[in-house]
Point group: D2
Chain length 337, copies 4
């Protein structure tokens, strides 16, 4: 039984807290911190059985009983807090992305390596039952050599413009998961990216300097080709599909729904829409990624989403952004590595 | 190349004529007869390349060049015309049902046997791609021993009341195909029937002495159990499904649609309704049953839907009717055989 | 926050304990009892945070702090324990079936009524996302008047013969859920039953006096017709489907799988098998039925699966058994009510 | 009733001949020509009821009774024969591609315009029930403004290397249909192309100077983005899918199969593979494109796949080839127009 501290009590911090309380065997939460400790937060922490609520994450890092921390604070603090946590000898689960700056990511990875602590990045979709089902079949060799990897990833609705402005752009905020998925499903690094982006959903997004629609082509080190299509708004719900096609076949996943019910009436044969909300769709994967992290700590195993897995999608996002801006394919080697 | 004559130029007679013209190699239509020869019929026959239009089917039977006849006249004439045709040495394709009277059916079968002519009954669904796909897997042993055979058969809309009154009842007019299908898919005869029928679609059907909704349970000679559910009106279209479940697995078929298109929108994920009209749904099977009949004639093979296959569903329908009337299971041996 | 006691620490008792610990807000388990208290049970109870482990359920009934009990003991003790619990003023969640004897069930219902306690029967499938999706659409009027209600319910494998011998027969052990489902989905009582049963899976089941395959037709008070098909062994997994067909359309549910992954290869287009184990398939429904029960207690609402809902399926099972034995349809009024 | 002549009696010439004989009302074939008239061809022509078999297509062009010709000869002869046919006043159905050279295509279009004859190019997939179902919904406005158009097009097996060498390359031989489909489904022209190609199926294809795997991104004039993925070999069959995603929803089509049968067994839940052979998959569309062409001729309507529809996909293919060779996006304006 390890003790964990959670840094950041926003949405994702609370999601992980609930997961640990309900599903994760082998870990208990000793403390949570947030820059703003409200009465509501204290009541919530109490209801979760969390003993301590701090307004400074350093109190968590200083507690010798705490084995591991979950860095769930705002993105720009992921790197410095992770470095401090490593220096304090805490194992680290860090939300994605580590940072938008390659140099800072490398500093984190260096600090982690020096401290010899576990480090896992929050690419939860790797733990989702559907994506794992593809991965397992690919690893088992059932589709032979991968030739084409396709990811369709569309949000049910665009975020508020205020959020868009500080999000770092769609490639860093949304497509980052898909870049990770291309690597995960193919088992290969990306070498070159070509991105086409448009503003088709909401012109305000364009005014804010971002895009809402994109198709990205990725060359992989193993010779395969990846392709991602994104939209900020699919009116029918959260569209999360993928396909890996190879020399011996293809495997594809479709969307999850609330039930298998199909209605046949005068208007057609109607199935349910995909689950709408990302927490509804991916809740189990959030729990499973934390269980897996805890298992790595308790049983001294390598984490399954390691530092390089945190770095690579950021490199791809940088290349995609550059590609779109310059209207040409961009090699990963041009943006870092 | 054989020459055929078509007796009866109603809907099904014309369907078979078009099939032979378009799809059936090895046969040509020399003549068609109908009790009422209109100008429209003559023009239609000319457009189909049919040389002779008679108002008396005997002219067809007397033509020594004609090898085979298709009996497409009204149901009450199927038996006497088939007997005459057999006596005239013509091979016979007879629309279903041969007759509602077991004695008359047996007279037909005796006449056919005596004449040594081919005789096929128009259970076209046996030639349908979906039902054949089940049958082929069952025969291949893929589902092992059959345990449960299910047929769902629902019409898109009830026929006019005037038709209901002369139809012989739903079991003879509609379920007769499903009774045949239970035998075809299971490869076994039915020994006992229990039928429950209701009037739920249209009370006028009840006033006309018929039912519009039914569930029929059938015990089979091989120990398996069959079950059919029927409705005269499925608002979403012509519902034609089946499943055979056995010791090694199950095989089921779903409905055919006009296209595979699926629309995802705010209202849900919407596929097309099943094909609505029986000719649209089963056109190919009508062509294939005639091709198969022609092949039996040309190459002197047994027909694949023989006289006993015409008799058995009538026995089952009689037992189903008696079961519903008397509120008890009825053995096939009680109604004939 | 109410306190509950769990009577019976077998499989289902533990399932409910885990549900309450993880998912049910508003309830905590104070004690559990079992006729055999092992070290393993004590360790397990401790891990679940259950303070007391008794070898006599009376200790639970005597604890004034305990508001409600879950009767999870062997079937033959459901009735007497429920009566005692009612007399002790405890709210009762009773596993299905209450009893196989109509008289004893009525004694339970009388005791419950006299005591004015809540009483819910463990028909968990009513809380399953798929079955609920049908029910919701039926209640919303989307399919109009129900005409045909179909339930397919097949176990992945037959139970051990020793279990078959004491199970009370397939209708009481397995089909009882389907009888409940016909009532739940149609919103109507059953008036008459016709059952056909066979021994097709394993002859040993027949020697033990039971059947392993059945088709049951049910007449409903609202004029609709129900039909259930059962098998003790579907090699492809736990087959749990249903369909309600009515005047405005049909709604059907298919099986749940571990993932949506579909593999296309030389051998075909292969989806996953249905979930195999009933706990895997129905775990969430077990949690939801207890949450609902707790809500009824806390907020003084009627339970959603009441005493009569516990009685009716037993009556239907008795009628089904009699029908199969006597080879005729049996009215519910013949077996009780 | 118009009279047509067919120029070229290879596979596609015979496909069209059979279509006209069986399905196309309003047209009859008077003559067929081929540079090599064999006994087999003469016998076949006789069986189809074609009166004349010529070894010189000029005999067809000189026959004043012939209203229209189908140019089904080898690709390099499409342009000169079409020009001659136009000059002879014949309406023209020309197989795709018109030519690989933009200048020659423009000469054909000029000759057609001068002669005032009908001209249709053989993009048969526009007439396919699935692709038409998407198009109809897009035109009806059901998906709102198109944002992303996806086409997956994979052959069941690579052609022989000898064929690859003379095919003009995968973009001209195979993807040309998909380029047309992007235009057809989006209702917009393509403005820029980025193509990534690999040799992953068979290294011999690479030695022959071609590719066997590709992902192509296309910018459209209406702001939408198109994406095509191609493989020369999908072991599970002929994979022909598409999706149009827009502001109000998405519509997608899946593959056609021989039947709807699904087998559930220990190995999984297995549906049929997609239809394997392009003629099996697209036969009806070949018939329908000719019917539509005949309708244009008979009723003096514009053809639905006109000269520009023949030119544009060639321009896109040229841009795709250049993009792949130069590793950069290529504007359509760089290759012609």
């Amino acid at each position: 039984m390890i003790k964990v501290g959670i840094i950041g009590a926003g949405r994702i911090g609370r999601v992980h807290s609930e997961s640990i309380s309900k599903y994760v065997k082998g870990a208990e939460i000793k403390a949570i911190s947030d820059i703003k400790v409200t009465e509501e937060l204290q009541a919530w922490a109490k209801s979760m059985g969390i003993a301590h609520v701090y307004d400074d994450y350093k109190q968590i890092l200083q507690d010798p009983e705490i084995d591991a921390v979950l860095v769930c604070s705002s993105t720009n603090t992921h790197a410095p807090i992770s470095i401090e946590a490593a220096q304090a000898g805490k194992h680290i689960f860090c939300e994605k992305p580590i940072d938008a700056d390659v140099g800072r990511i490398k500093q984190v990875l260096a600090a982690v390596e020096k401290a010899g602590v576990k480090f896992q990045v929050g690419f939860n979709r790797r733990f989702d039952h559907n994506f794992k089902a593809i991965k397992d079949r690919v690893v088992a060799g059932d589709i032979g050599e991968p030739h084409i990897i396709k990811v369709t990833s569309r949000d049910p609705d665009a975020p508020p413009i205020e959020y868009v402005k500080v999000s770092g752009g769609m490639f860093f905020d949304m497509t980052i998961h898909d870049f990770d998925m291309i690597r995960y499903l193919s088992g290969s690094n990306v070498t070159e990216v070509f991105a086409v982006g448009s503003v088709l959903v909401n012109p305000e997004i364009g005014k804010a300097g971002d895009i809402d629609t994109a198709v990205i082509t990725l060359k992989l080190a193993n010779g395969a080709i990846g392709v991602i299509d994104n939209s900020r708004k699919a009116v029918y719900g959260y569209d999360q599909r993928a396909e890996v096609f190879g020399s011996k076949g293809a495997i594809q996943i479709s969307n999850d729904t609330g039930s298998s019910a199909v209605f046949s009436g005068e208007q057609g044969v109607v199935a349910e829409k995909p689950k709408y909300f990302f927490l509804e769709r991916y809740m189990q994967s959030f729990a499973d990624e934390i269980s897996c992290f805890v298992d790595s700590v308790v049983n001294d195993k390598p984490t399954v989403v390691n530092g390089d897995d945190g770095l690579q999608p950021v490199l791809i996002a940088l290349a995609a952004k550059k590609s779109m801006e310059e209207g040409r394919p961009v090699k990963i080697s041009e943006v870092g590595q």
